[in-house]
Symmetry: C2
């Protein structure tokens, strides 16, 4: 099976073959004609993930996020960059193809990133709204207990929250990855929290002047509102873990391995 | 002295009276004609900051960030919002005027936010480039030691880093607040790091797919690169602390008090 065959099958199974004209889902390295020896799925094709792919003999990495540090994976600005040069050499010397599965992954019949995260949390039956993966109703707990649940389930040593650990909660919003920035509309996460009467927003990337400030004020006003900042990678990695098993039926015996890109942060 | 007098004097002293046509520096509450009983400076006019202003008898808050949770401080979308309603009632019942000093503060002859931070760090003599507040050369240290320095100087219990605590460093970049998102250009923080040969970038708000991914890869490749994520509020609060003393000569005896809005996060 060639790289292009894998891409075509993935787009067929996820989106019925529908293809966006403008998309960041690009082949960042390698050739469509390359024969695939093995597939690795991961959140980001970091240098360590690429080394792991080489070690297990896989030459196609399906990544959710860019390889070269900006949304569009453009490389002109990196022409004389030592980080780019060394990463590209590692990729090229080992004949690694890297394809990004981002936009089409989120627009699949069911958003595959959420599918993976919700499976990891065991929240498949907790959806508040059948038409959206953004809100859930769980057994009443506290923000502190819920944070411990996320740390345990997602393998984190530290998590940042806004609000009070002792606040009760049961209506939970989740905006994964960069979605918690509002998908082009700063108000969106706050409108979701208000309209669905959510107690807690679980977030990927954030800015401090928007939802963070809203939740902080709500908490100071005595309302039971909180934010749990799990981060971009820790909210989305599980979709790429799920993707490995989702790929199996269409991989025709080519080995598929999930490699955890791991949280980039150390907490000191 | 009236609210408008304070605004005019601040803009005259900072920018020689130059005024942006398009700006987020708006009067989010109160009237230009209101007599000022006292001034509070702060990073964000949170509910707790407003309560502190009321307690000390100040009725003008000069804030760096928005009052109502989006960049432009628009309130139409908040019409039926309980957080907005309760915060607005607190403000109106106590006759508090809130003016934002953001764009003009950064475009002052010397960026006043950086001036405050660098004073707090004691790095006035460490500038790499006289024309820019973005890069510094310090005595050789390690990323771990430098992180402890920031925790101590800026009053933080935990700090996230990317890279290795044992990495040596002496060339340090600082992008405060939302500036570490690139000021409209995702590549900017990485270009700065490369062009000035910086070992460490100290950041406010970040996204995980840009500078964070670049530094993570560089570190995995064995380069001595790291990121210290101090956060938006902790990098910019010190400019508002400095502003309180900067205001004294033009305040004509009106009391000026800095109120720390405090880091919004709890680390669990």
């Amino acid at each position: 099976m060639k790289v292009q065959d894998v891409i075509d099958r993935v787009l067929e199974k996820s989106c019925g073959g529908r293809k966006l004209e403008q998309t960041c889902d690009v082949l960042a390295s390698g050739s469509p004609d390359q024969e695939v020896s093995g597939i690795v799925t991961t959140f980001t094709a970091t240098v360590d993930v690429i080394r792991e792919a080489i070690a297990i003999g896989a030459n196609l990495i399906i990544t959710h996020e860019p390889t070269y540090f900006t949304g569009a994976d453009k490389v002109e600005w990196l022409e004389n960059d030592p980080v780019y040069a060394a990463k590209k050499k590692l990729i090229d010397d080992n004949g690694i193809a890297i394809w990004r599965f981002h936009d089409h992954m989120h627009m699949a019949k069911s958003d595959l990133i959420y599918d993976g995260l919700i499976k990891e949390l065991g929240w498949e039956q907790k959806r508040l709204d059948p038409s959206s993966p953004w809100s859930y109703v769980i057994e009443p707990t506290t923000v502190g207990e819920l944070t411990e649940f996320f740390k345990r389930k997602l393998g984190m040593s530290k998590v940042r929250i806004v609000g009070k650990p002792e606040s009760p909660c049961s209506r939970i919003g989740i905006l994964v990855g960069g979605g918690s920035l509002g998908l082009g509309r700063e108000e969106m996460p706050m409108e979701l929290m208000r309209d669905k009467e959510l107690d807690v927003m679980v977030c990927g990337d954030i800015t401090e002047w928007t939802l963070c400030a809203y939740v902080n004020d709500a908490s100071m006003l005595g309302m039971n509102k909180a934010m749990i900042v799990v981060g971009h990678e820790r909210t989305e990695e599980w979709g790429m873990k799920y993707l490995a098993e989702w790929l199996l039926p269409i991989a025709e015996g080519v080995p598929v391995t999930f490699v955890d890109a791991k949280e980039p942060f150390v907490y000191l």
